[in-house]
Amino acid sequence: MRLTCTVNGTEQHVDDVWEGESLLYVLRERMGLPGSKNACEQGECGSCTVYLDGLPVCACLVAAGQAEGRQVGTVEGLADPEALHPVQQAFLDAGAVQCGFCTPGLLVATHDLIARHGRPSDAETREALAGNLCRCTGYEKILDAVRLAADRMAEPTAGGDR
C-alpha cells in the first residue's frame, strides 16, 4: 500500500508498505528516521515513543496504515538541525544519557510532560514516565534532567520552544 503522512512537518509518501508493518518500522526502515527505537516492539518499553497528532504513542503498536494523513513527530523533529531543545540539553547536562537507547522515547515523553505540566512534581514525573524503561541509569539522572529542563523552560529568558 501507499502511505502518506506528515513527519516532523514534512509530508512523506512511501510505497510498497506491507499492511503488517508498524509505524515504527516505516519510520525506521522506509523513511530513514531510525531515531525512534525498537527495544521491545510490543508496547512495553516506550523507546519508540512518538507524537501522533500531538499525543505520545508507542509507534510499534501503531499499524502503518493508521498514520495515513496524520501528523507524526519524532525525536528527530524536536529541534532544528543545528540546535538542541532544552529537554535534549537537560538530558545531556544531567548525565541522563548512558547507552542512550531509551533516550529518544524519554525525550518525547518528557517534552509532552513538560508541555502539559510545566514543572511536574517528582511523583507526576514518575507516573508520566513509568512506561519508558531504562536499563542503565536507575532513573535518578532522568528525574534530574526533567527538573532541569522544566526549570529552564519556566524561566522566561530561557525561551525554549514548548
Binding site: 527495544a39 516492539e41 538530558f91 545531556l92 542512550g100 542503565c136 541509569t137 532513573y139 535518578e140
Partner: protein, 789 residues
Amino acid sequence: MSTPTRTPTGAPEHLTGPGSGGVGDDAQRPDGVLKVRGEFAYGSDLWMADMLWGVTLRSPHPYARIRSVDTSAALATPGVSAVLTSDDVPGEKVYGLELADQPVLALDVVRYQGEPVALVAADHPETARLAAGRIHVDYDVLEPVTDARTALGHPTWNQVHDSTAEVTELSRESAHLHPEGNLVRHLKVRTGDPAPTADVVVVGEYEVGMQDQAFLGPEAGLAVPAEDGGVELHVATQWLHVDQKQICAALALPPEQVRLTLAGVGGAFGGREDLSMHVHACLLALRTGRPVKMSYNREESFFGHVHRHPATMRYEHGATRDGELVYVKAAIYFDGGAYASSTPAVVGNGGTMGIGPYVVPNVHVDCYGAYTNNPPCGAMRGFGSVQTAFAYESQMDALAAELGMDPVELRCRNAMEEGSATPTGQVIDSPAPVAELLRRLEAMPLPAASGDGEVDLRDMPGGVSNTTHGEGVRRGVGYAVAYKNVAFSEGYDDHSTARVRLEVVGGEPTATVHTAAAEVGQGLVTVEQQIARTELGVERVVVHPKDTSVGSAGSTSASRQTYVTGGAVKAACEKVRAQVVARAERLVGRTVPDLRLAGGAVVSDSEDITVPLADLLGDDVLEETLEWRHRPTEAIDPETGQGFAHVQYAFSAHRAVVDVDTELGLVKVVEMACTQDVGKAINPQAVVGQIQGGTAQGLGLAVMEEILIKDGKVRNPSFTDYLIPTILDMPPMRIEVLEYADPHAPYGLRGVGEAPNISSGPAVLAAIRAATGLPLTRVPVRPEHITGT
C-alpha cells in the same frame, strides 16, 4: 562495495566533546549530542539500500536429537535468497569464549530451547520469518536435565542441617550432555583448620533465580561482503577481537579478511560477551554476496544471549560468642545451562570471593558449574559475585540475630582491611575500607516514616492500585557490603592496546585516540578523551571509531576498561608527550626538567617557556601505539584455591529502606543509599551514574527479575512478563563516593561498574526480612514468599 548510509559505528568520526574536561571533571560524552538527536547509529539502525534481512530458526525443545532438516519449502519462498544449516559452516562448527562447545548452527543434537538451527536471508524481515517457519526439522525429543545438582549426580539438600561433606562425590551415572560429563568446573578453596568448631553456628540454604541483562538495544549488526572475499561486520558487542577470533574460525578466514567495527551499543551488562548474530550474518552475507542485517526482537533476545547463572548455595558460618568469625563452609552450584560460555570464570569468582569481604581463618568452599538443558548462562554484571553475596550477607544477618548483635557491628568486626588476607591467601595491598563504607551508611539520615502526614498512594506498596493506605505496612532497613575483582583474573594475559596521535588540524592541536575498547553506554569514550586532554594538554580529542584495525583492548567487562584501556591510553599519551618534550628541548637547545603540556603548548613553570604545539609540530604527526598490562595475576592452586588471583578489588555497601505490605506481600523500596570506594573518580558524574544503574539492577533481582524456566523452557521471554524496574520502582538514592587511591592503578582508580550491582540486592533482601521477620532465602522475593500463601 558501498558503505552503509548511516555511519555504522558507535563512535562516529570527529567525535569531540564540548569544551574542556580532563581527568576528574564531569566531562560530557562525545556521543551525547548524537544520542539526544536520535542520530547515533546503533546496531539495529544500520541500513544499506541493497541489504537483506537475516533471521534465525531456533529449537523449540530443550533437548532433542535432530533426525533431519528440510529447507526446500523455505528456499522456494519468493524473496528468499539463502537458507543455511550447519552444513554451510565452512570452518569450525563449534565456538565458545573459554571452551569451544557451542554449535554455530545445531549439529545432531540441540541442548537448549532457542538453540539456533538454521538461517534465512530475505528481502523483508517478515518474509524471512515466514520462510524460517517453513523449514521442517524432525526432532527426536529427549528428557532434559534441568537441575545443576541432578546433572552432577549430587544429592539434593532437603534439610538445612545436612552436612555439606556429602556433596563432594561426583556421580557419573546421570546423563552426560557433553562428552566430558556435566561438570564445567569445580573450584576448591581450603584454608586453615579442615574441621573447625565454633561457639555459634548458623546454616542456611539460598537460591538465586536466573536474571537477564535486559539491555534495551537488541542484538544487531550488518555484515557486508568485501571484494577481497572477506567480510566487514558492524556489530553491537563487548569485545571486538574475541568476536573476530571466533568468527574467523567459523568462516575459515584469516583475521585480515574479517574486519569488525563497533556499531552503537544499547547496553550490554555481560550479555554481549558471547557471539549472537555475528557469525550468522557473516555466513548469509558471504553466501548471498549482499549486505545482511540481523536484529533480534525482544523475544529472540531472551533466547539469543546468555543469562546470569541461577545458583543454589549452602553456607555454614561459625563464630565466637563475641562475634568473631571462626569458619565458613560453602557449597555453591551455578547452573551453566547447555554450553560453557564463561562458566569457568564465573565459578572462579563465585568460589574465590564467595564468603564476602570478611577475614575468616578457616574456609572450605566448593563451587561448581554444571551443564544442564537450561538456557546457557554466562556473563552478567557482578559475574558470580552477585549470587554469593545474597547468601553470605544473609548469613551475616542470621549470625547477628543468633548472637544478638547489631548486623553492621558484626560486619565491621570481621571486615577486611588493607593488609588482610583473602581466603585465597592474597594480601590486600591497597585500601579496603569495608567498615568505613558501612559506618558512613549508618550515619546517613533515614527517610521519614511512611505514615507521616497525608497518605500519598504513590508512596505505598501497590501504588495507585490502591491496595493499602498503610494498613499492614511495615518498614525495614537492611545493610549489605560486597566486593568484586576488577579486570581478568587467575593469570590471564589481560591487556589493552592504544594508539594516540597528535597533530595540528586547522591550526588547533588535536589528539586522536584509537582503541578497540567497546563503548556500551558506560562512557569509556569520555574517559579516553579526558585522559588524553590531561596527558597532552590539548582540548580537542577525537575518538576514532572502535574497530579491529588496532590491537585488542580486551573485553568491556569485569569493570576493567577505565583501568586497562584507560591505562593504555595514558601510557600511549606519555610516549607521545615524551616525543613532544624532546622536540621542545631540541628547539630551546637544552634540557628543561619541568617541561609539560598544557593549554595546547609546551610550558615550563621554572623558566618562562611557552612553545605552542601548533608551532612545534607544524605538519608533523606524532603517533604511538602500545600494549599495556596491569600487574600479572596467577592461577590458583587446584586443590586449595590459593594464589594471587585478582589484580584489584572494588568495594561497595548499600543500605535499603523498604515498606512491605505484609498482607499482600508487596514491596516498596523507599530509599537506597550507597557508599563506594572508586579510588579516583575519572568522571564523577559517570561514576554516580554507574552506581545508580547498578543499584537498580540489584534491586530488580531482589524483588522482580527472573527468567522462569519450566522443564527447560522459558516461560516469560518478553518485557510484559519479565519485569525490570521502572521509574516507579526506583526510589531516591543517596550516594557517597570515596576516593582512596590504589597505588597500583592508573590515577589510583578502581573499576566501578559491578560492585554496586552486588551489594544492592542483598541490602533490599535484608530490609524485607527486617520488615517481615521472615527468613527469606530466595530471590527474587515474590509476594507469596511474604504472605506464605
